[in-house]
């Protein structure tokens, strides 16, 4: 099962990965094709920048991380193969990793506790209609799965994913015993994945 955007199987013209798909773009980038990098940027920059902004809570930091992400893609795209997972998963994991690096360099942890309740129901107005539709569909699936979790499980999972907190840090942050936090995270992940697995729109 994979939650990554189902670019190729979307009906009609693919959205984020319009011809050629993101995998092909990565292959071209790996051969030094700057036009492909521009194309990839145009198709993925909103989710990359938005994730960095969500994790860092600062537009300047989010911009720096986004630049780092595409710089890394430019340098390492030739190492990517589809066997590693979907291209968008690869980009997201790089973005998360870079954002966590930057978070660890900062003393301030402001803007790091936004919960899913504060997430708008729809993407920003500047998204293309098609991009918005696909992102919104996936976002709804995940939001639905997250929304089905008890609040404390959802909070623990988000703090782990978006803030990079360890079990011990989570226990400190939440004021709960370490064992309780471990169980909470474990249960949250299991329920989330089970819910996503049952979603008809999630690509396999």
């Amino acid at each position: 099962m994979m939650l990554a955007l189902d670019f190729e199987s979307s009906p009609g013209r693919p959205v984020l990965a319009a011809e050629p798909d993101l995998g092909s773009l990565l292959a071209r980038i790996g051969r030094g094709d700057a036009h492909a990098l521009a194309d990839l940027y145009d198709r993925t920059s909103r989710i990359v920048y938005s994730l960095a902004l969500r994790m860092l809570g600062d537009t300047a930091d989010a911009e720096e991380v986004s630049a780092d992400v595409y710089n890394q893609v430019w340098r390492t795209a030739r190492q990517y193969t589809p066997d590693r997972g979907s291209p968008i998963t690869w980009l997201i994991m790089i973005t998360r990793s870079r954002s966590l690096d930057r978070l660890r360099l900062r003393d301030s942890r402001r803007q790091r506790e936004t919960t899913v309740d504060q997430i708008p129901d729809r993407p920003g107005d500047a998204a293309s209609a098609e991009e918005s539709a696909v992102l919104e569909q996936r976002a709804k699936q995940v939001r639905k799965a997250l929304g089905a979790l008890p609040a404390e499980q959802r909070q623990a999972l988000e703090l782990s994913f978006f803030n990079g907190l360890t079990h011990t840090e989570l226990a400190d942050r939440l004021g709960e015993p370490l064992g309780t936090v471990k169980t909470r995270i474990r249960t949250a992940i299991a329920r989330l994945r089970a819910a996503l697995k049952d979603e008809p729109g999630v690509a396999q």
């Binding site: 521009a38 780092d68 066997d83 994945r193």
Partner: protein, 252 residues
């Protein structure tokens, strides 16, 4: 390790929750090409990465695109990229090996870059501190009201010069100063018109024999009779323990 435990470990690995020893064990298993491990890692990655799609969408700054592309073009100009044919010839083993190592390398690269960023930031901080110190010293030297005090043994070397501005501070410079003996240091003193000498800090010359001391002293210029330099035990002394080798009168 049963499949459920493997799945849980992979999920924890993706979130960075796996303890060090277990992380190394899992990465070794992935590096060995274990199909179950690779499948669970990929699946956990794909599922948990989906959380990113719940963030509020925002447009990247308009100039970011051109900045990224300019960087890429610049890098392309500066370094010849490997031929695609190399990848093709290696593809058979590289696909499996890289898949297993992908997560580990991503993590390690990010850690290394974080370390480099931290080191660079520390260096910048240090340079900024040094620059501020030098700017402050220069301001004292250039101050209109700065008094010049020469400290000398009457022989040619070494030569100390001090600049003291009441509102700005006290700077001591030295040329051709030999290093202090092991376990010893040089100490600058303000000798007041009345009372005991007041320490203005310890110092040692750099490898070129030069001294630039931005003295930390609360002594008042108008109450000072002279500056003096003595040889003291490392760390300095509350009061001079040796006869000052260099003395300079603070003139009007």
């Amino acid at each position: 390790m049963n499949r459920e435990l493997l799945r849980q470990k992979c999920e924890d690995w993706v979130l960075g929750l796996l303890p060090e020893a277990e992380r190394a064990e899992l990465e070794a298993l992935a590096a060995s090409g274990d199909p179950a491990c690779l499948e669970e890692l990929r699946s956990a990655c794909d599922d948990l990465a989906g959380l990113a799609f719940t963030v509020p969408l925002a447009d990247a700054p308009p100039l970011l695109r051109s900045r990224i592309l300019n960087q890429a073009r610049e890098q392309a100009r500066q370094s010849a990229r490997p031929k695609a044919s190399l990848l093709t010839s290696w593809a058979g083993w590289a696909v499996a090996a890289c898949l297993a190592l992908f997560g580990f390398l991503t993590w390690r690269t990010s850690q290394q870059q974080a370390g480099r960023i931290l080191a660079a930031e520390q260096q910048i901080t240090e340079l900024q501190s040094r620059l501020a110190r030098n700017q402050r010293a220069l301001a004292i030297v250039m101050a209109r009201d700065a008094r010049f005090i020469r400290l000398s043994t009457g022989q040619r070397e070494p030569v100390y010069r001090a600049f003291w501005s009441a509102p700005s501070g006290l700077v001591l410079t030295g040329l051709d100063v030999p290093p202090p003996k092991p376990g010893r240091t040089f100490q600058l003193w303000v000798v007041p018109k009345q009372g005991n000498p007041v320490s203005a800090g310890v110092f040692a010359p750099d490898e070129r024999g030069q001294v630039l001391v931005l003295a930390e002293t609360t002594a008042r210029l108008e109450e000072a009779a002279a500056l003096a330099i003595s040889d003291e035990p490392a760390g300095g002394s509350p009061q001079p323990t040796t006869k000052p080798a260099f003395v300079g009168a603070v003139g009007d």
